[in-house]
C-alpha cells in the first residue's frame, strides 16, 4: 500500500482491511504492556506461539500482542476473541490448555477466570469484571484490540478517520472552536484549556510554529502516558497532526522520558508506518498540509516535564526553566510559538473531532469534561490503569474499581498529583474527582497518579519522601526552591528520626510558603503541597512523632523497637541466621536440647526488619 492520497482512499483502505478480518475468527490477545512484561507475559506469548505451530488446527488462529489493558494486578492477561473471555494470571503452561479447551472446544477454564474477591463468583467476560464496569474507556479501551506495531490494527478500529474529517471538511478555526467547546483541559497536570492554548499559538506572530508532545511523565507512580504511547501511539500522533493543522505548525516533537525505551520504539514504528501511508509528511491525504514529527529522548530529569525546561532540553541545553512572563505559545522553542500538550491530551483530540464536542461534554462535570486515566497504585487490591469520567468519587475509584484495601487494612489517604499534589484523607473520600475540586482540598489532578495509602503508611514519611525527590530533581537555580526543598527535607528527617521540635511544624509551613511564592517554576511552586497537605490533615501524626517520638504506622525506623515474644518463640533460630549484625541470641531447640527463646539486643539492632519478615510464627513484635 503506497501513500494514501485522499480521505476517500483512506476509507476504502480501511474497508479493505476490515473485509479481510473475520470477526468470528478466534484470536488470542495477550497484553504486552510493561506491567505484564514484568509478570512474564513474553513466556506466555512464546508458549502460545509454540502451541499454534505444533497444531495443524493452529492455522487461521491469530495471536495479537497488544498494549496495556489496564488490569495490571492480574497480569499476564489474555483475552480470547470473539467471545471476549478474560483469563488472568496466565502461566506459560496454561497456553496448551487454553488452546485445546477454549479455542477448539469453546469451553471456559474456571480457574483462569477472574474471581470476585468477596463473592468468589467467577466472571467470564471482560466487561463484567468489576474493575472495568465503572470505567469509561473511550481513550484507553482500544489498547486491548491493537498491536501497536501494526498501523492496520489502528485503522481497523476507525483510526485516522478524525484526521480525514478535519483535513477535508473543517477549517483550522473550526477545529479550535470544537476543542474549546469540548473544554478539553490539559491532562498533564496544569488543566489549562487546550483550545485556548491552541488559539493563542495560532494567532501569535511568526511563520514557524511547533507542536510538542510532553511524554516526560515524571510523577513517580504514574504510568498512563507510557501505556498510551506503548499501546496506542497512533492515537497520540493523530491528535498531534490535527492540532498541528489547526495551529498552523509543520514540525512536531515528541519528548519521551529515556526511562521508557519501549515507548520510544513503538512511537518510532508508528511514525514510520504513518509516513509510509502518507499520513505524515507532505500533502497529507491530499490536503496540501505538510507535517512531520521527530522523537527526542529525555535525559533523566523530572524538571524537564515543565514546559520551558522541556524546550530548553530540546534545544540542547540543561533543563532549567525560564520565566513565563511571555508564554511559550508565543515564544517557546527557539523563540517561536510552540504548543505543548500532554500525551493524554493529544489522545483526546481525535475522539472530540470524530464524535463532536456535544457528545464529549455530556461526560464529566461542569468544569472538567471528558474522562481521565489514573494509575491506581499502592495499597489497593486492583492495581492498574483506570479511565473514569470526571466527577466519579474517590470512593468509587478506590473501592468499586480498586477493590478496596488488601489485607482488610483501613484506608488512610489517597495521594494525587504526584510531587506537586497532596494527600486526601478518609473524611473526603466522597469527593468527586475533577480539576477544581482536587485543588480546593489542597491537592491537584496532576498527571493522574493516584496512590492509595493505608494505616501502615506514615504520612510524615510520605512528606519526607516527596521532599527528598523534589530536592534531587530541582534544577537548583532558585534559592527558594533549592534551599527550600532541602531544608524541608532536613526538618522532616529530624522529625522522623526522633529529633523533632515543636517549632518544626511552623517552620515547615513558612518554608513551604517561601518555596511556593518565590520560585520561578511550578516545581518550586508546588513543592510544598505534599508537606502542607499532610500537615493539614494529619497534624496529630506529626505531633506523635515530635512530642512522643512515636511512629503510629510503624514505618520510621529510628522510632521503632523490635522485640521477640518469648512465649511465642519456637526457638527455630531462623531470625538469628538472617540478622546482618548478629544482634539476636538464643538457643535453637533440637531433639537433644530444650532451647532458649531468642532475644534481640536492642543496642546492636539496626531495625532492618529481616527478623520480622523471616519469622513464620509472628513472634517478632514491632512497636
Amino acid at each position: 500500500m503506497g501513500k494514501i492520497s485522499s480521505p476517500e482512499e483512506l476509507e476504502r483502505y480501511q474497508n479493505e482491511i476490515l473485509s479481510k478480518r473475520d470477526p468470528h475468527q478466534p484470536c488470542v490477545t495477550v497484553c504486552g504492556g510493561t506491567g505484564c512484561h514484568a509478570s512474564g507475559c513474553h513466556q506466555v506469548i512464546d508458549a502460545f506461539k509454540r502451541v499454534l505451530q505444533d497444531q495443524s488446527k493452529g492455522n487461521g488462529i491469530n495471536i495479537r500482542v497488544t498494549g496495556c489493558h489496564g488490569f495490571c494486578e492480574r497480569g499476564p492477561l489474555v483475552v480470547i476473541y470473539p467471545q471476549k473471555i478474560l483469563y488472568q494470571r496466565v502461566k506459560p503452561e496454561d497456553a496448551r490448555t487454553i488452546f485445546e479447551e477454549t479455542i477448539l472446544n469453546g469451553k471456559v477454564i474456571e480457574s483462569l477466570l477472574y474471581d470476585h474477591p468477596t463473592t468468589g463468583k467467577r466472571i467470564v467476560h471482560e466487561e463484567e469484571v468489576p474493575f472495568y464496569q465503572k470505567q469509561m474507556r473511550i481513550i484507553f479501551g482500544n489498547n486491548g484490540s491493537i498491536d501497536p506495531t501494526r498501523i492496520e490494527d489502528y485503522l481497523a478500529v476507525g483510526g485516522y478517520r478524525a484526521l480525514a474529517k478535519a483535513l477535508s471538511s473543517m477549517h483550522p478555526d473550526q477545529i479550535i472552536q470544537e476543542v474549546k467547546k469540548a473544554n478539553l483541559r490539559g491532562r498533564g497536570g496544569g488543566g489549562f484549556p487546550a483550545g485556548v492554548k491552541w488559539e493563542t499559538c495560532r494567532n501569535a506572530p511568526g511563520d514557524i510554529r511547533y507542536v510538542i508532545c510532553n511524554a516526560d511523565e515524571g510523577d513517580p507512580g504514574a504510568y498512563m502516558d507510557r501505556s498510551l504511547l506503548e499501546g496506542n501511539p497512533h492515537s497520540v500522533l493523530e491528535g498531534m497532526i490535527i492540532g498541528a493543522y489547526a495551529i498552523g505548525a509543520h514540525e512536531g516533537y515528541v519528548y519521551v522520558r529515556n526511562e521508557y525505551p519501549l515507548a520510544v520504539v513503538n512511537i518510532g514504528i508508528a511514525i514510520q508506518q504513518a509516513r509510509e501511508l502518507g499520513l505524515l509528511g507532505k500533502n497529507i491525504l491530499g490536503s496540501k498540509f505538510d507535517f512531520d514529527v521527530q522523537i527526542s529522548r529525555g535525559g533523566g530529569a523530572f524538571v524537564c516535564g515543565e514546559s520551558t525546561a522541556l524546550m530548553a532540553s530540546l534545544e540542547g541545553n540543561v533543563g532549567e526553566p525560564r520565566a513565563k512572563h511571555i508564554h511559550t505559545v508565543v515564544s517557546g522553542l527557539w523563540d517561536r510559538p510552540s504548543n505543548l500538550n500532554n500525551v493524554e491530551t493529544w489522545a483526546n483530540v481525535p475522539v472530540i473531532i470524530e464524535r463532536g464536542a456535544d457528545w464529549y461534554t455530556q461526560i464529566g462535570t461542569e468544569g472538567s469534561k471528558g474522562t481521565k486515566i489514573f494509575s491506581l497504585v499502592g495499597k489497593v487490591n486492583n492495581t492498574g490503569l483506570v479511565e473514569v469520567p470526571m466527577g466519579i468519587t474517590l470512593r468509587e475509584i478506590v473501592y468499586d474499581i480498586g477493590g478496596g484495601i488488601p489485607g482488610g487494612k483501613k484506608f488512610k489517604a489517597v495521594q494525587t498529583g504526584g510531587p506537586s499534589g497532596g494527600c486526601i484523607p478518609e473524611s473526603l473520600i466522597d469527593l468527586p474527582v475533577d480539576f477544581d475540586r482536587l485543588t480546593e482540598v489542597g491537592s491537584m489532578m496532576g498527571s493522574g497518579g493516584m496512590i492509595v495509602m493505608d494505616e501502615s503508611t506514615c504520612m510524615v514519611d510520605v512528606a519526607k519522601y516527596f521532599t527528598n525527590f523534589l530536592k534531587d530533581e530541582s534544577c537548583g537555580k532558585c534559592t527558594s526552591c533549592r534551599e527550600g526543598t532541602k531544608r524541608m527535607h532536613e526538618i522532616l528527617t529530624e522529625i522522623t528520626e526522633g529529633r523533632g521540635k515543636p517549632e518544626h511544624i511552623d517552620l515547615l509551613e513558612e518554608l513551604g510558603w517561601v518555596t511556593a511564592e518565590a520560585s520561578l517554576c511550578a516545581l518550586g511552586g508546588t513543592a510544598p503541597n505534599p508537606v502542607l497537605s499532610t500537615i493539614r490533615y494529619f497534624r496529630e501524626e506529626y505531633q506523635e512523632h515530635i512530642i512522643n517520638k512515636r511512629c503510629p504506622a510503624k514505618v520510621c525506623r529510628t522510632l521503632l523497637q523490635y522485640r521477640i515474644l518469648s512465649d511465642v518463640c519456637t526457638m527455630c533460630g531462623r531470625c538469628a541466621k538472617v540478622c546482618p549484625v548478629k544482634a539476636i541470641t538464643g538457643k535453637k531447640k533440637t531433639k537433644k536440647e530444650a532451647g532458649e527463646p531468642f532475644q534481640i539486643d536492642t543496642e546492636k539492632c539496626i531495625k532492618c526488619g529481616m527478623c520480622f519478615e523471616t519469622c513464620k510464627f509472628e513472634a517478632v513484635e514491632v512497636h
Binding site: A301, S474, K477, G484, T485, K486, V514
Partner: protein
C-alpha cells in the same frame, strides 16, 4: 521610553529593560545578588522580588527578569515581599554563614537568627562568574554542574579550568569575594579554579603583565602578529 510606576513614583524605562534596572537608576533600593549590568538577567537569587500589578492582577516576581511594560504598578516593599526576602536571605546565610556581604544584608533586613543547620559553603550560586566568563570574556572556563542541592560552580571534570585565561573578571564580579587571585613571581593563580599560568614579561619595562595563555588566545582570535604582545600595554602608549 515606557512609562510605569514604582512605589507610587513615575518612572520610565527603555524597551526591553528590566524593572530592577529602572529602579536602581531611580535610586530605589531593591536588594539583589545575581544581577550585573554586563550580563543577561538570570533570576537565581530571588532577592529582587517585587509585586507587580498588571491588568488588575498582582503577582510577586523577580524584578531583574521582568521587562518594563506600560501601565504596570510595581511595589518594592510590601509585607509579602519583605517576608519573602527575609526568608531567602536567611536561607542563603544558612548556606554561607561566613560571607560578610550576606551577614550585612541579613542584618539590614532584620534577620537576626538562622533557624537551620548551618553549612560551611562560601559560594552563593549566583552564577555571575560563569555568566561573565561566557557572555563577556568568551573563555567558557567554568559552569554550573549537577543539579538540586548538589549544584555547584566548578571547572569541567572538577580539575583545573583549562580554558581559563586568568583575566580576573570573575574575581571582580563575585559579590561575596570568594574567588581569589594571587601573583607570585612570574605566576598568576586563580585559586578557586586551580589555574596557575605563567606571565609574560614586557621586553621594555620587564614587568610581568599578563598570562602567556591569555595573550596567545587574544592573538589567535584577533589574528595578530607573533610579537604583538612582546611589549606591555603601558609601555606601548
Amino acid at each position: 521610553m515606557i512609562p510605569f510606576v514604582i512605589d507610587g513614583q513615575s518612572v520610565e524605562g527603555k524597551e526591553g529593560g528590566s524593572i530592577l534596572e529602572v529602579a536602581l537608576d531611580a535610586g530605589i533600593d531593591i536588594p539583589h545578588l545575581c544581577y550585573h549590568e554586563s550580563v543577561k538577567p538570570y533570576g537565581a537569587c530571588r532577592l529582587c522580588l517585587v509585586e507587580v500589578v498588571r491588568g488588575g492582577r498582582s503577582r510577586m516576581t523577580t524584578s531583574c527578569t521582568y521587562s518594563v511594560m506600560e501601565g504596570i504598578e510595581v511595589f518594592t516593599h510590601t509585607e509579602k515581599v519583605l517576608r519573602a526576602r527575609r526568608m531567602i536571605i536567611e536561607l542563603i546565610l544558612a548556606m554561607c554563614p561566613g560571607d560578610k556581604l550576606i551577614q550585612d544584608m541579613a542584618k539590614e533586613m532584620g534577620v537576626n537568627q538562622v533557624r537551620f543547620k548551618q553549612e560551611d559553603k562560601d559560594c552563593i550560586l549566583c552564577g555571575l562568574c560563569g555568566r561573565i566568563c561566557e557572555e563577556v570574556v568568551g573563555a567558557n572556563a567554568i559552569q554550573f554542574a549537577f543539579r538540586g542541592d548538589r549544584r555547584e560552580m566548578i571547572p569541567p571534570f572538577q580539575g583545573e579550568a583549562m580554558s581559563c585565561i586568568a583575566c580576573g573578571a570573575c574575581v571582580v564580579a563575585c559579590p561575596v569575594d570568594v574567588i581569589r587571585m594571587k601573583e607570585q613571581g612570574d605566576e598568576r593563580t586563580i585559586i578557586r579554579w586551580k589555574r596557575t599560568l605563567k606571565m609574560k614579561q614586557c621586553k621594555i619595562c620587564g614587568n610581568y603583565f599578563a598570562p602567556w595563555f591569555q595573550l596567545e588566545k587574544f592573538r589567535e582570535h584577533a589574528k595578530l602578529p607573533k610579537d604583538f604582545f612582546d611589549v606591555c600595554y603601558t609601555c606601548r602608549t
